[in-house]
Amino acid sequence: MTEPAVEMLHITKIYPDGVVALRDVNFVVHKGEIHGLLGENGAGKTTLMRILYGEIKPTKGEIIIFGKKVKFRGPWDAIKHGIGMVYQKFTLIPTFTVIENLHLSHLAINPKATVAETRKKAEELMETVGLKVPLDSVVEELPIGVQQRVEIIKTLLRDAKILILDEPTSVLTPIETEELFKTLARLKELGITVIFITHKLKEVKRVTDRITVLRRGRKIDTVETAKVTEVDLARMMVQREIVLKIEKKPAKPGRIALVIGDLWVKDERGIDAVKGVSLELREGEILGIAGVQGNGQRELAEAIAGIRKIYKGRIKLYDKDITHFSTLERYRNGLAYVPDSRVVGLVLDMTLRENVVLTNIYRILGRLGYLDWAKGDEIARKVVEELEVVTPSILTPVKYLSGGNQQKVMVGREIVREPQVFIVAEPTQGLDVGATEFIRKMLIKLRDNGKAILLISTDLDEILQLSDRIAVIYEGRIMAVGKPEEFTLEKLGLLMGGVHAE
């Protein structure tokens, strides 16, 4: 039982842009166990697993599978060594039937197989594992949970002995999750090793035998599940020294600026992403939404900005009910939204000036749709001056600017519109220390000027540094709201992992 299936030793991964994703990580999984891989966003969980699956090459370190040293050139090598991966986003062809999908992947290891053989093998496999899927249904017509089962069968058909599941429960309903756990237990009985990537504390505690916790590219520890509590895990996951202390005066919250009442929003797949969120945001305060990525933050922000449909609930901006306002109407009524992605917020091929105009277009609009670019120049120059954007010219395409300067353009063009309420998502993602500090100070300055700021960030440091109040979001629900001093790091970690601290 303690024979290792996977040994990843001294794994270091440095990306070409200098980002260190993993630092000297040792990761050992025993044969036949369910091993949880736990960590926040950017902890390196997915990177580590992509290295194991041969998708990425490590900068340093070695990998030993079932006692044999290996070097993978690509996933096909990993598959040959019995490693299978089930992604969060499935890799099935939606318009094919289940058997067609299974056959397609089966051909990769057995090019001469006929559909009948694949079917026979699949049926046997379903029998032994106890997973049932309708082989002749078209994939896109199946519920997500069943599609995931197809993915699992697909990897098992390729004789996978080690199964990696990347956040498998994030797409499932509670009942489907139960089913999945039963399947995992069955696979364990069959001697298959399972690696379970997650940030959900309850689940990892419930189904795994051992847990490895990663934090910022380092391994914190590998522990036996039975010997730790959720609190221990939360502490391991989020413990940190807080760097970059930013000076700020105590907040002077004023009038209520934004009220969100029982908001329900669906994601692209039609699954509830925001489930009855209610929040109040006041002038002169920063309300930080903490949470692990993919817990409904983007959907929440887009719903407030009017980009995504709200199917239940109310949004009020001061005295106005803006639930049914268009995006432009919301912007014009004093709302600003800085999205979490610069690819969305900016048109990279366009000039700085044209990008500044993106949300300021009504200010340079003349008769008959004429655009007064001289006014556009003025606004662009103001953004460059006020935010200290480093650029050769306002006519430079923004793709030539650094990430920090791009971010300044995105924030700056909202500031010059002088809105009252800011929705700011991941404002410092991927920025260097200098640019990060600049943007954070800017947000505090806005707060001190009486603006209401909803800060959505998966960076816990950022939340702790900036927020006057913190709300923790988990699976589309607000777990708790309170002042920063009401939360210990441990408690935040637990809440972000879906556990209510007592």
Binding site: D17, I56, I307, T327, V343, V344, L348, P392, L395, P397
Partner: protein, 358 residues
């Protein structure tokens, strides 16, 4: 009122800021033309022709009669715009061909029956725009790929036009062609310093400038460009990328319709029953749009360049017995060479993206 000096200063500042982009663009255009001619030379050698002699004829005869050159480039300017404006908004309009047919036919009929050139042009524009909009509506509201619709519409319109000019609107006196455009509805030629400049060419240039203005100086154009480059950004800004598709196809179709009217009223004055006067102009427009880098002003020059190739190609055929499709071949190679930088840049950015995640 801005001084002349200020204007040039601005122009220079603009140029400097985007010098890298402009330089790349110019280099790409030049290189693809060079590659086109090089590949053409190799093909000619293989076929047993002297490429230098062929190119000599091509250029000396293709570009000497400026009046004729501009006249022939007129419909090409408009069909290139018909491709490029939707391309800016992210739609692939290969329906310029049939949008031109509709313009040509409607222009002809209005001119024949009502003897009024401006009205004929307006009706042709509306016809082309309507057809463009039809394709866009199917794309936006029914999710039908615009390329498929356009191909089908192209063939429907081709045979419909063939039927109409051989049947109901055939010229009884000259059965190889349709009813004519009466003298009073023809667009005249103007003599400018010894060169006969077609009125239709001037109208096409005005059309191109108006569309340039719309693209770069109006909200409509701005929204189209944002939507084409990044639909997600458009949505974030509160614009509708779908609406931008409709507008762009409306403008594109209108341009092709205008091209058809200008061709019939200003040049051929009737449609021959083999449709040789109209066939292929829309497709050639795609290459011109690419060469002009989807910029209406660049397109004017690209259209003149292509038009010279087409004219010169006929002389090459006449004098050297070279294959009649030589100019088509050259244009084809240039289009492919032009798409290579796009492909090249696409591959580079793809590799970069992969490295970032590796």
């Amino acid at each position: 009122m801005p001084s002349k000096d200020g204007f040039f200063q601005k122009l220079r500042a603009r140029f400097r800021a985007r010098a890298q982009d402009y330089g790349m663009a110019a280099l790409e255009v030049f290189l693809s033309a060079a590659i086109g001619f090089l590949a053409g030379a190799i093909a000619l050698l293989v076929l047993g022709y002297d490429p230098l002699r062929v190119y000599e004829v091509l250029f000396s005869w293709g570009y000497t009669d400026v009046g004729y050159l501009l006249l022939k480039s007129t419909p090409l300017i408009m069909t290139a715009i018909a491709f490029s404006i939707p391309a800016l908004a992210g739609v692939f309009n290969i329906g310029g061909e049939s949008q031109l047919y509709v313009g040509a036919l409607l222009g002809l009929l209005v001119a024949y029956y009502i003897h009024n050139a401006p009205l004929a042009i307006i009706v042709a524009i509306l016809g082309g725009a309507g057809l463009g909009l039809f394709i866009a509506l199917l794309r936006v509201y029914r999710g039908i790929n615009e390329v498929i619709t356009a191909i089908m519409v192209n063939w429907i319109m081709y045979w419909l036009l063939a039927y109409l000019v051989t049947g109901p609107f055939n010229n009884p006196k000259l059965p190889q062609q349709s009813v004519p455009v009466p003298k009073s509805a023809q667009i005249p030629m103007f003599s400018v310093v010894g060169v006969n400049i077609a009125g239709s060419f001037i109208l096409a240039v005005i059309g191109a400038l108006v569309i340039y203005y719309i693209v770069f100086y109006t909200k409509t154009g701005y929204i189209m460009r944002v939507s084409g480059l990044s639909p997600a950004s458009a949505k974030y800004a509160g614009f509708s990328p779908e609406k931008a598709i409709l507008t762009s196809m409306l403008i594109g179709g209108a341009a092709a319709g205008l091209g058809g009217a200008l061709l019939v009223l200003g040049d051929v004055h009737s449609i021959d029953t083999t449709l040789s006067a109209v066939y292929g102009l829309g497709f050639t427009g795609i290459g011109i749009g690419l060469l002009g880098r989807n910029n209406p002003i660049g397109i004017i020059f690209a259209a003149i360049f292509f038009s010279g190739l087409l004219i010169g190609g006929q002389y090459v055929e006449l004098f050297l017995n070279a294959p009649p499709n030589l100019s088509d071949f050259l244009i084809g190679v240039i289009v492919i060479a032009l798409s290579i930088p796009y492909a090249y840049r696409f591959i580079i950015s793809w590799i970069k993206r992969r490295r970032m995640t590796k």
